[in-house]
């Protein structure tokens, strides 16, 4: 088993047993800055080496998926889940966007299993982060004369994680592989270790949200498991349609299945105040994140194999 999963379990178990273990918030920030920049840089370096003619269509398709995913889940959440409009929109935004932590675990999983994947995947992370936020906010508020587009753009494009991901991407793209090389001591060589610590902390955090699940009951749990599964299928189909490798398809499925817990909560909290943040975090952190990390990713890999027609 990949040790980083064990770090996640260590954090989860320690917190469930009420251990005193806690990492200072500044360390959590530091680790996430490192993760976001590293993923951005990696993606940017790959961009520099790939012809735009291959990338542009893929990018367009992925962005379209980013807009469609929340449009697909919103009515389900509203009608089937009977969530309030604001909460349904918020959940749709969370699940339409992506979790960078889950992405990193998927990359580590493929590395561990020595499965190849297209190296420009981090680009997709950046592309998928934003559209669902925009759609979610519009679903909650409607488009009226008063829609403050400037504030909307600010909240979606200038959030911390987007700035770091996109900034890293642009820097990596500008300086290319050789330019990024001297930075590898901090960003690339320690990546797996940083991810391990990050997952330790995620385990500690997840445990708190697991315990808040009781309050929201079965429907939320069902959506927390069902939505990622459905989205993974959409992601896997798109991956196969774009002729991605099995590894690439696995990652696209994982991205679709993952739910944001950094960028989206912050943006939605200010833009859609009437949505209950505890509800969407209980779903994305309390159910979907652990599900994806522990069970989902291998499953999406199987799914990708199936869809690509490769025998299991």
């Amino acid at each position: 088993m990949d040790p980083i999963i064990l770090f996640f379990l260590l954090g989860l178990i320690a917190a469930l047993l009420r251990s005193e273990l806690r990492l200072p918030p500044a360390i959590y920030e530091f680790l996430s800055v490192l993760l976001l920049l590293t993923i951005g840089l990696k993606g940017g370096v790959e961009l520099a080496t790939q012809p735009m003619s291959t990338l542009l269509p893929q990018m367009a398709a992925v962005i379209v998926m980013g807009f469609l995913l929340p449009l697909f889940s919103f009515p389900l959440l509203l009608k089937l889940g009977r969530f309030k409009r604001a909460d349904a929109a918020s959940l749709a935004a969370h699940y339409g966007s992506v979790s960078v932590g889950t992405f990193a675990v998927a990359v580590a999983y493929l590395g561990h299993q020595q499965i190849e994947y297209e190296s420009h995947m981090p680009l997709f992370v950046v592309l998928l982060e934003v559209p669902a936020i925009i759609v979610g906010i519009i679903l909650a508020k409607g488009i009226t004369r008063e829609t403050n587009w400037k504030a909307l753009a600010h909240e979606t494009f200038l959030g911390k994680s987007i700035v770091l991901l996109l900034g890293g991407l642009l820097i990596g793209w500008a300086v290319g592989p050789s330019g990024v090389e001297p930075l590898s001591g901090l960003f690339f060589n320690t990546f797996k270790g940083v991810l391990a610590l990050f997952l330790l902390e995620m385990g500690l955090i997840t445990a708190q949200h697991v315990s808040s699940l009781r309050k929201y009951g079965i429907p939320l749990i069902l959506f927390g498991l069902g939505l990622p599964l459905a989205s993974a299928c959409i992601g896997a189909l798109l991956g196969s349609f774009l002729d991605l490798s099995v590894g690439g398809t696995t990652i696209l499925a994982t991205l679709a299945a993952s739910a944001s817990y950094i960028a989206v909560p912050a943006a939605i909290r200010t833009a859609v105040p009437e949505a209950n943040p505890a509800l969407s975090l209980a779903a994305s952190l309390g159910i979907t994140f652990p599900f994806n990390v522990l069970v989902g990713i291998p499953l999406y890999h199987k799914l990708a194999l199936q869809i690509s027609g490769t025998p299991l």
Partner: protein
């Protein structure tokens, strides 16, 4: 040392995610000075342990005139109380150089 007015200390404890918006609002209300502390806590909206990103609280304290204190509280109650984890309280304080707070 002059002590001629009876200023108020207003304390606001709320979600750190709205810090920027809140400060803009306070500025518009005429607040010239404030102090912010990063804190954690528990209340009606559950546990806010401050362990990560959007889970923390801030504590804003403002020394100001009684009039402004009332305006602040009325504004916050109307704009934020229904949707955000927030408490406020208010007390009497004495200050030196009151002109610093009434500017």
């Amino acid at each position: 040392m002059t002590e001629t007015i009876q200023p108020k200390l207003v304390v606001i404890i709320t979600e750190s995610v709205i810090e920027t918006t809140l400060l803009t609002d306070l500025e518009n209300l005429g607040v010239k000075g404030f102090t912010i502390t990063d804190v954690r806590g528990r209340g009606h909206r559950g546990n806010r342990a401050g362990d990560w990103g959007i889970d923390g609280n801030i504590r804003v304290e403002i020394v100001c005139s009684e009039k402004l204190s009332r305006q602040i509280l009325a504004f916050l109650e109307q704009k934020y109380y229904d949707n955000y984890a927030m408490i406020t309280y208010c007390s009497n304080v004495s200050v030196i150089r009151p002109e610093k707070f009434l500017g």
